[in-house]
């Protein structure tokens, strides 16, 4: 049985169902409206697994689902060496969001990462601790800042309401996803001109670790035909 993990609720689930539906693969939730179970019609040998979008990267890496729909930002952040563990089979064209670095709008002297680095050095000297950047995307942000030679910062974990951490004095800057930038502006923050870390969207990923027996490979080939995609090597 080929297991496909999809987000269990909200707009992401609806858009995901629409995307497959438009390609002749019908996905639907079954049973009680609060029950997390689903079914795939129009194709044999495929089982739907409803999961939290945030857990799909882990399930793909462990091989407990063969395919999974989740944000490209989550896969890159949660999986080390992500491309060795999963294949980004098909970008799906929804769930767009940018992971960006934002600083207070009043930082008139800071426009680029270069400025952020210099401001961090001065901040550390003046305040006795590193400039704190609140985020939940630790791996992506750290790799991005290292690659761009930014030093003297510290990441602080923020799992929600990240835009508010600066006002609450628990961070000096943030790295978070945004689509329109409205929440950032409302919290008196601005995006660095070269502060785009990753442009995320929903992607259909394939697990390299899952058990790919003859039945799963046959279902994959069938699904690839429906979706108009080349059959990937597994």
């Amino acid at each position: 049985m080929l297991k496909i993990g999809v987000p269990s609720k909200g707009r992401l689930m609806e858009k995901c169902f629409d995307w497959f539906g438009a390609r002749g693969v019908t996905m639907a939730r079954t049973g009680n409206e609060r029950e997390y179970s689903g079914a795939v019609d129009g194709i044999a040998g495929v089982e739907l697994v409803l999961l939290s979008a945030g857990e799909i990267p882990r399930e793909l890496a462990a091989g407990r689902v063969h395919l999974g729909v989740t944000g490209s930002d989550l896969v890159r952040d949660k999986l080390a060496d992500w491309s060795a563990q999963v294949l980004d089979w098909a970008p799906m064209g929804f769930g767009h969001a940018d992971l960006v670095i934002a600083v207070p709008a009043g930082w008139i002297d800071v426009d680029t990462l270069d400025d952020l680095d210099a401001a961090a050095a001065a901040f550390r000297a003046a305040h006795g601790h590193r400039l704190r950047i609140a985020t939940k995307y630790h791996r992506l942000v750290r790799e991005f800042l290292t690659a761009n030679g930014v030093a003297d910062y510290a990441l602080v974990d923020s799992q929600g309401a990240t835009e508010g951490t600066v006002k609450n004095l628990t961070a000096e800057a943030i790295a978070d996803i945004t689509s329109t930038g409205e929440t950032l502006r409302a919290n008196h923050l601005k995006i660095l001109s070269d502060g785009l870390i990753h442009q995320s969207q929903a992607v259909l990923f394939l697990s390299r670790a899952a058990g790919w027996g003859a039945a799963e490979q046959a279902a994959l080939a069938e699904l690839a035909g429906r979706l108009g995609l080349a059959v990937p090597e597994v």
Binding site: A84, Q85, G106, T112, A151, V166
Partner: protein
């Protein structure tokens, strides 16, 4: 013998050799408080060390190397001069599925002695001795010469501080140097920023940007805005001087020839004079210990991509291509000041990876 047993046997041989050389055996905790390491290395250490949580003591790290705990132990009451030897596992978090070791043994030797020249030569000769007969390729460098060259540039203190801060990030260092030397054009974003900053007082511009949130104060922001405008007025580092620094960054030659080259440029860059003479004295001390300094490889930029604490002599010993260095080390005077709470002592040391030695000897 199993690979672990062969590695331990090799580690014990090396450790015994270091004790025979006059070292005192020291031990270090495996679980280290994360705060000190984070403060020293910054966020990068999180990608290279295993972080774990103690319910009462907060974040802890599995020992990524011995240098920090050994320096801390020495600074809190070691005799002077002192020589230490240690052996044990270090733990390195890996972000790629390429088979690099997550845990491996290190055997180390550290010298805290005010006679830096003699100590540098002692450590290098000792390492060469314990690795004798293994067909390893030595590499050496001296970050102190590079730092002296930067300090001696005829430019603003702020630019020198920026270069020194990034000396262990070669790419970023190069980008800054290119800009300060006028080799790279001013990025358009910076030009636009300067124009905006010149359009009004910092206070007025901050005010116009809306409510200011966060801990970074209007004074912090105004100070950097003024620094940016001031920096834009500073002339580029003169071309001949910049050329010397570029030359130095790429200097690679046998040590004796490198010394002749450095002595040749020292009159043009007088600030490196003392560092070059310290290099000369080290070569004499190495020669006195039987090292062939006419053949010893030297690279002025060697050791700039390691954890950022080496600030003088650096060295490593390499096996076949693709294998990590079998041994590496260097001088870290500034680290003892950072960890010494007001005190400092010149220090030099290094580690050997007994697992790699055992493998090269065919024991694994």
């Amino acid at each position: 013998m199993t690979p672990k047993a062969a590695t331990r046997a090799e580690a014990e041989r090396l450790h015994a050799a270091f004790l025979t050389a006059g070292a005192v055996a020291v031990e270090a905790d495996i679980l280290l408080p994360a705060g000190t390491l984070l403060d020293l290395y910054g966020e990068d250490i999180r990608a290279r060390a295993y972080v774990t949580a103690d319910p009462l003591n907060g974040e802890m790290m599995l020992r990524p190397d011995f240098t920090v705990p050994v320096v801390q132990a020495h600074m809190s009451g070691g005799a002077e001069p002192a020589r230490y030897a240690y052996m044990g596992e270090v733990f390195r978090r890996q972000e790629h599925l390429d088979g690099r070791a997550r845990e491996y043994m290190q055997v180390g030797y550290e010298v805290f002695d005010r006679d830096a020249t003699a100590a540098d030569a002692e450590v290098f000769a000792l390492f060469k001795g314990v690795l004798a007969g293994m067909d390893l390729r030595p590499a050496t460098g001296d970050i102190g010469i590079l730092m002296a060259a930067v300090r001696g540039l005829s430019t603003t203190e702020r630019r020198k501080a920026a270069l020194l801060r990034h000396i262990w990030r070669p790419q970023r260092f190069r980008a800054l140097l290119d800009r300060f030397a006028g080799r790279a054009p001013m990025p358009p974003a910076r030009a636009a920023l300067l124009e905006r900053l010149r359009s009004g007082s910092p206070e007025a511009l901050i005010e116009a940007a809306g409510p200011l949130v966060g801990l970074r104060s209007p004074e912090d922001i105004a100070a950097r805005a003024e620094a940016l405008i001031e920096d834009a007025k500073a002339p580029a580092i003169a071309a001949p001087e910049a050329a010397l620094l570029y030359d130095l960054l790429s200097l690679e030659a046998p040590a004796q020839a490198a010394l002749a080259h450095l002595r040749g440029i020292a009159p043009l860059l007088p600030a490196i004079g003392p560092a070059v003479e310290a290099f000369a004295a080290r070569l004499d001390a190495l020669a006195a210990r039987g090292i062939d300094v006419a053949a010893l490889p030297f690279e002025a930029s060697h050791g700039r991509t390691t954890l950022e604490y080496y600030d003088g002599f650096v060295f490593s010993f390499h096996g076949p291509k693709g294998m990590p260095p079998v041994a590496s080390g260097g001088r870290y005077d500034a680290l003892t000041a950072v960890l010494g709470a007001g005190r400092s002592i010149p220090a030099v040391g290094g580690i050997v990876r007994p697992g790699l030695v055992a493998r090269l000897k065919g024991a694994i």
